[in-house]
Subunit: 181 residues, 4 copies
DNA sequence: TCCTAACCGAGACGGTACGTCTTGTCTTGTT
DNA sequence: AACAAGACAAGACGTACCGTCTCGGTTAGGA
């Protein structure tokens, strides 16, 4: 068991801040949410937030990673559809697309956010598909962008995502992955 | 010919401001671009900008509408693919998706932007498709979201859009419009 | 009459901000007074304060200069004592020494404040004495420091300055200026 | 010899912290010096500093008391001038007036600092003069303020104190103590 | 040898001020 | 009226500092 010197960080702060971030960004949008608001909602000082995350973008990205969770490990009998459908389902969670829309906007003109988005969100999904079904990475990237982009845009313009839309988008993405099928 | 009293508006201001908006937002992103910067780049006072547009969001939206242009009127021999492909081609213009990404982010938690985006961008496209091919409005909405959302997300994460991606996304959207085909 | 372009500055702001500064610094000390407090007390935005003064130190210095006023022009029959006594009287004003104490503390390790204090407070006084009575500049500097320093320190430690102290200090300073007398 | 239970305090810490305080405050001023800086310069944890002194003001005051030292006991043949001159000499030490200027500024709006300054700096000096020459306490207070205040102010504005100034100020203070002389 | 009590280093934490920035409004004189 | 110029209100940003706290680990005397 390793111990770093100094007072240990409060264990419950990360979760509280992330939860406040998710709630407030969903309600007010990325730009409309203040770090003071987040800190106040999490019952924490603003300095504490800045000690753990370098910027608002990092915090929101981190909250998003946690909200999405990890793509499930494929088990016997699983098909490609299960993993793609899992992604579509996660994005249709208001918590997820509420955070993601703001980050995508921030990615323009902020290369570090762009890189982080690619590495921490898209990459794990791609890795799983490539490992399990030997899928073409380029096709997977495009499928990811279709699933996430379509649903994000749909949510932003229409206000929500219904199951039928999730299915339709999932089908469209699957066709891109198995053109012969 | 109607004349309102007082000094007439300068005819070249609108174009100059829109051009400055397009350039700066593409380079720096929506949030990273200041109205002072835009006014300075257009060699115009900030008051002049606010006299013509109510807010930054309105200005950017207006610039976007001009950059996109109108969907072409279908002529003899045209197929559905021509119109959907036109949309994909327009979105792949960096000027277009640069502006749009920021606006979509702004639409969350800003209902008026959401409404404007729906009415001034998506609606004209839908009207044309419904008029010419009697398409199902709901399917058209989804196809629009797939085309625009996928390409937007792809541009934001990958930094650009190549023709192959445009084609693949166009195909995917067309399948949603003609499920039987 | 000269007119600069743009909206003219509100004429009453300078006085209101200076008045708020004088009052708050006297009550709470230099370090204990916030620029937000000053702005709020003057019913003005903080940006407006920073547009007119570069820093808290500049603002307080400016308020001090106004509180002190100009040394009187010597008239027929005036003696050295009138001018030195005027200085002592001005410093004994709580508004004056309240501001000055903080500035002197700031002058250590802030050369620009030190220079400003010398040029805007001590210099005018010295100039007057040298012009009217051909006094020795070095002696005047010392006399100034005795009057101001003694009263400042007395006020800081004892909480106020009574007329007898003012007289005693004035006498002491005069002896430094007329050693033969 | 008394022993309190528990680990005894390190014997060298007080001196190291005071030395660091003197050096840093002289160089950067009172407000410009951080307790973290002091702790780092003394190679000590901030907690250790706060265990021994209640606040920054207390620490600086304590360092000042040590720097000044005790007024000398009057011996046979000593005159008033020796004691007053001793005070002037001590204040002209840059270490002394560097600390004192900041404390005097802090004393405004911080009554406990004011009281401490009076009791720990001025009082011992006054006691000595009253005991040895039966001086008038009020006159001694004023003489103290003249010596300390004048030299402090002179150092703050002129950057240093030369021996001639020390003499002149000492003379001025002595005249206040022996009006008949 | 264990126990107790206080010390120390390291650093997290709450609270608050700083000076800067941006949005959208307002107020001048000029065209 | 429109326009240029710029002041203004409101409020968020990210940094810095003070004084407190909470750990693990240390160092003495006493049981």
């Amino acid at each position: 068991m390793e111990h770093r010197p100094g007072r240990p960080r409060r264990a419950d702060v990360d979760a509280a801040v992330r939860a406040a971030t998710v709630r407030l960004v969903r309600e007010q949008g990325y730009a409309g949410t203040t770090l003071d608001q987040i800190a106040r909602a999490a019952a924490v000082a603003k300095t504490t937030v800045y000690r753990r995350w370098d910027s608002k973008a990092e915090l929101v990205l981190d909250a998003l990673v946690e909200v999405l969770g990890e793509p499930p490990l494929p088990t016997h009998g699983d098909e490609l559809r299960d993993t793609v459908g899992w992604l579509a389902g996660r994005i249709s969670d208001p918590a997820a697309h509420g955070l993601l829309v703001g980050l995508v906007g921030e990615a323009v003109g902020n290369p570090s956010v762009r890189t982080a988005l690619r590495h921490r969100i898209r990459q794990p999904f791609e890795d799983r598909l490539v490992a399990a079904w030997d899928a073409d990475p380029t096709a997977v990237d495009l499928a990811f962008d279709v699933v996430v982009g379509s649903l994000l845009h749909h949510a932003a313009l229409s206000g929500g995502i219904d199951p039928a839309t999730v299915d339709a988008v999932t089908d469209a993405a699957l066709r891109l992955l198995a053109p012969a099928g």
